[in-house]
Amino acid sequence: MKINLKTLPIVILFSLGLISASAAQTVLLNVSYDPTRELYQDYNKIFIEHWKKTTGENLSVKQSHGGSGKQARAVLDGLDADVVTLALAYDIDILAEKNLVAKDWQKKFKDNASPYTSTIVFLVRKGNPKGIKNWNDLIKAGTQVITPNPKTSGGARWNYLAAWAYALKQPNGTAATAKEFVKKLFANVQVLDSGARGALTTFAERGIGDVLIAWENEAYLAVKELGPDKFEIVTPALSILAEPPVAVVEKVSTRKNTKKVATAYLEYLYSAEGQEIAARHYYRPRNPKIAAKFAGQFAKLQLVTIDEVFGGWQQAQKTHFNDGGIFDQIILK
């Protein structure tokens, strides 16, 4: 009796482990960040078809979504991802550091290994009652701003960096004026949600705030899903070019023998079909032809990159977001 009771949980755990491990067939797992659910749902369908046509193999693609940092951490801790499609390069760099993806992962695919781009825009209430047009309208007294917390949300880091870049590019802009600018901006923030979608809910459903700083694709999706009669999008004159990167998880795909199909999966994102799906989900396509086709959909603005303004993600993370960094300094008042 005693022995049985003691070993029972272990036996159950092991048998469950065996069951989940024995379900072997060609299955890809794409570990991605929050806003790409809809995009990859559509993309998986056409890729599975394409793979069947070209190789005759049946394939299924599983999806996992969550905050970008959280997802990278899960892969680091053993989530069986064949490919990662995350919000920022910093999160894939971490995986490269631990030898899960190739050190030169950004060279493995075109355009810095980011098949589509996006930028940071404003979502305001219908009619734009506060007359918000550009970043400097956000630091006015009495303007309530909603953005997620840069410490917990990849999207929010892009928001913060875009604001910084704007301030820096103003006449006589320096690091000191930029710091003052983001400080004023965050003083206008009343709710710091942990993720981009939480922030949108606070703004849209709870009716809090005058302006939401958001991914362009998320803003478009929100207007589509929640009603064009309630919100409108304001594109600032200058913003940051957000490049969500993709990579094959070498360690996992080698073990699972899926490296070829995993590479093809990411490669196909650059095809005309892949680019068109991205554009339909309001990501800016890289392919000039597709970009021209959807040109009417995206507002024109000046875009700066993280490499030219901040010296890359590693540097930006260290200066701004790590403990004791500039974000910590401005938030403590």
């Binding site: 949980p9 469950l16 659910r37 979504h65 801790d77």
Partner: protein, 291 residues
């Protein structure tokens, strides 16, 4: 059910009408504001777009697989914690030993561990960078980000429920009855089965119900170890979050209302058993076969 409680039939155990009205008024308004209103808002939101939409939302394939996983996790976690709870409370209340209070406190510990930490510890132990992670990976066994991890996290967060329900109850009941049974020659199992169990059945049942409800509703810890693979490692609470994050508020609340309904069903079952047992007052039977 009788129309009045046994306490109301005795002058010694009933309060003046004014006090009674005050207690009822206070407790019920507290209940209304803090429990009933949130619940109502879940159902109002869930049925916002009509019954057909509601049924479409809850019969979606991903929701079904989430439901299966939730039931599986609860079906493993609850019996294990039940056995543990009975064993622990027997040891603690029927014997005197050094370190008893420490043991009780350690049993409570999972309650005070933030769900966030509860998930994290299993990542630290079974994760790829964890203690046993590489061994499991080499043997192609997936613990976290798969079903076993979800089961483990569920067991952890519901660990103290049964024990914590039984210990004060058995303490309050003392040992006289069991001692009498033992003196009369009953062996350990007989004493437990015929004397202890009938006495603790309500506490036990409450414990199981709480344990079960929490097992099905756990979000934080499971979220850390799940990996969020759609249709594979999402439990109902995680599915709710997914739907919510897809701007599918109505469907999210619809699925959430399932959990609330599930809790209500268990409690209806509990009331039924209570009623049956009251009818057979002479049969001090154990509560096997409930829920």
């Amino acid at each position: 059910m009788s129309l009045t409680t046994r306490f109301e039939r005795s002058a010694a155990t009933s309060e003046p009408a004014l006090i009674k009205a005050l207690i009822l008024c206070l407790s019920l308004s507290f209940f209304g504001v803090f429990l009933l209103l949130p619940l109502l808002s879940v159902f109002t939101e869930a049925l916002h777009k009509g019954v057909i939409y509601y049924f479409n939302a809850i019969t979606e394939p991903d929701t079904w697989s989430a439901m299966q996983l939730t039931l599986l996790a609860a079906a493993i976690a609850v019996p294990l914690n039940l056995i543990f709870g009975v064993a622990a409370s027997w040891a603690i209340t029927k014997f005197d030993f050094v370190g008893k209070h420490l043991l009780i406190t350690l049993i409570d510990l999972p309650f005070s561990v933030s769900p966030v930490i509860a998930g994290l510890i299993f990542v630290l132990v079974f994760g790829a960078q964890g203690w046993f992670g590489s061994w499991f990976l080499d043997n192609d066994l997936q613990i976290i980000f798969a079903v076993p991890g979800i089961v483990l996290a569920t067991i952890f967060v519901t660990f103290p429920f049964v024990a914590r329900e039984l210990i004060p109850l058995m303490e309050a009941q003392g040992r006289e009855e069991e001692e009498a049974a033992a003196v009369l020659g009953a062996n350990g199992w007989q004493t437990f089965w015929y004397v202890t169990l009938p006495n603790i059945k309500w506490g036990l049942l409450y414990g199981v119900i709480l344990c079960n409800a929490r097992a099905m509703g756990e979000f934080g810890a499971v979220s850390v170890v799940s990996g969020h693979i759609r249709g594979y490692t999402n439990t109902i609470p995680l599915q709710v979050e997914i739907l919510y994050n897809e701007y599918n508020y109505v469907a999210a609340f619809a699925v959430a209302s399932l959990l609330a309904l599930l809790a209500l069903l268990t409690l209806i079952a509990k009331s039924y058993v209570e009623w049956r047992l009251k009818k057979e007052t002479n049969a001090p039977s154990a509560i096997e076969g409930t829920i």
